[in-house]
């Protein structure tokens, strides 16, 4: 019977909505209650440091190349001892779409996403973050990782003394 089916369908719908009246709303009353995002949430970007306190960023431009909206810009320079770093580093958060491609591209895990999503500003120019605004005093997600201990051959340590590196083999000693 089509009529019976139709009426049953309407009553089922009414019963469903009635149950939802009694259900707890999913609304988060934002300014009063704030949801804690997961640690992997992609919001404000930071520049992290080595365990030793040095800047991780080597100004390789990979993040700014990966950025689909071109909101990252920097200038590379070399400091005494041969380490590279960014002379200035700028992220325009009014353009940033928080896609996380920069963090994925970074070979030194210097640039990272944080769960801090409250970065609204009255003035759009306040959303342009300079290096000193971006740089933090900790190692972020992979706190123990030190890029130069792995790859800084001849810059921070001589050949054979890096992490997970064996001393170079004397090829002449291998001769028969």
């Amino acid at each position: 019977m089509r009529v019976v089916d139709d009426i049953t369908a309407i009553l089922t719908g009414l019963w469903t909505t009635l149950k939802h009246i009694l259900r707890r709303p999913v609304t988060v009353q934002y300014p009063e209650e704030k949801r804690t995002p997961s640690p992997r949430y992609r919001a404000r970007i930071i520049l992290t440091r080595d365990p030793d306190g040095g800047e991780r960023c080597v100004a390789c431009y990979l993040c700014s190349a990966a950025c689909p909206v071109d909101c990252i810009s920097m200038q590379a320079e070399e400091v005494e001892g041969g380490r590279r770093r960014a002379a200035w580093f700028r992220i325009n958060f009014s353009r940033c779409i928080f896609c996380g491609l920069c963090a994925e591209a970074c070979p030194t895990t210097a640039i990272q996403m944080t769960p801090d999503y409250e970065i609204c500003k009255r003035d759009v120019m306040d959303l342009v973050f300079e290096k000193e605004d971006l740089l933090v005093a900790h190692g972020g997600k992979d706190a123990r990782y030190n890029f130069y201990r792995h790859a800084g051959i001849g810059v921070t340590q001589p050949r054979g003394e890096g992490a997970e590196e064996r001393p170079p083999v004397d090829v002449r000693g291998l001769l028969p």
């Binding site: 469903t16 009694l22 259900r23 709303p25």
Partner: protein
């Protein structure tokens, strides 16, 4: 005959009270609807203005009154300004014939809790409900906008599909009560509510008043999403507010009338009559909001098919059956 000044004072007091209660209720019905729809959708709804958002209607009123009142340059100014009133006033006037409580005995007089106990009360209701649609039709016409015109066309198409079945579904109630007077219809239900004799007529009437209120699933004249806002697309400020308030007053009044015709009006055990009446009327308002949160909108050919091919024949058969039953039981 010199009219009794006390009588006149009573009537004026009743009119004032009814206007106050109806307008306040209509404003709070908007709030209740927003809250209930929000709960149905697992949201919270307006809860910022005052405790639990209870002052929201006041904020809405201030907003509507301070907004600019725009008339489209190509529109018909007079009709455009007149239409909202034509939609709201019949809705308020209909309440004049609704008995909303047991008659009081005050200062040695009987005081019926009803503004006007007409002997053609039911016919007046039918007449006013037809006039109310003029507001919709003229508002859409005077706007000189295609969406508004489509909305008012649909309003008229809707009127001719539900109004016949609405009238026919009330005939059995009149046959049982043997009167067009609403107080008589209520009095006839002192023992047993008409819904028990006439469940079919009640359902037909319920569907028809849903269409009369222009509410989902029959909100074709408005149909946001298809027609922007239908007949009141071009309205702003308090004129839009009048259409809106008229719609909500209509809900209360038609809920009250459904209670009067089928649910025994103010009759009910234990509690005083006035509470029973308002309880029933507001239960209908809740039902309307609940249905709005549940059902999708019909296409307007579906509504016309439903009105003409289902509701009207059903109501006619019901009248015949009622007549036979009255004849056989010697009630006639």
């Amino acid at each position: 005959m010199m009219p009794d000044p006390v009588e006149i004072a009573f009537v004026i007091a009743k009119i004032g009270m009814v206007l106050f209660v109806i307008l306040t209720l209509a404003a709070y019905l908007v709030y209740a609807e927003r809250r209930l729809l929000a709960w149905i959708q697992d949201r919270k709804g307006p809860n910022r203005v005052g405790p639990q958002g209870l002052l929201q209607p006041l904020a809405d009123l201030v907003k509507l009154l301070t907004k600019e009142d725009v008339c489209p340059p190509a529109g018909d100014r007079w009709l455009f300004f007149l239409a909202p009133a034509m939609a709201a006033i019949p809705a308020i006037m209909t309440f004049a014939i609704v008995p909303f409580g047991a008659p009081l005995r005050l200062a040695g007089r009987d005081l019926p809790l009803q503004v006007a106990d007409l002997n053609v009360g039911l016919l007046l209701f039918m007449a006013l409900s037809s006039i109310a649609v003029y507001g919709v039709a003229l508002g859409g016409w005077a706007s000189n906008s295609k969406y508004a015109l489509l909305g008012s066309l649909r309003g008229l198409a809707q009127l001719i599909s539900y109004e016949l079945s609405m009238g026919l579904s009330l005939v059995p109630a009149v046959m049982l009560a043997r009167s067009f007077r609403l107080s008589d219809i209520v009095a006839a239900q002192a023992g047993c509510w008409f819904i028990l004799y006439q469940p079919l007529a009640f359902v037909v009437f319920l569907v028809s008043i849903l269409a009369e209120c222009k509410r989902i699933p029959f909100d074709l004249p408005e149909a946001e999403g298809e027609l922007v806002a239908g007949f009141h697309t071009e309205y702003s400020g308090m004129r839009f507010g009048l259409f809106f308030v008229g719609e909500y007053i209509n809900i209360i009044v038609l809920g009250g009338l459904a209670a009067t015709f089928f649910l025994g009006g103010w009759h009910g055990p234990v509690l005083p009559g006035i509470l029973w009446f308002w309880g029933k009327a507001l239960a209908f308002a809740f039902l309307f909001i609940w249905i709005r949160g549940t059902l999708p909108r019909l296409r307007y050919d579906q509504l016309m098919h439903f009105g003409w091919k289902v509701l009207t024949p059903l109501a006619l058969v019901n009248i015949l059956a009622t007549a036979w039953w009255l004849f056989l039981t010697g009630g006639a």
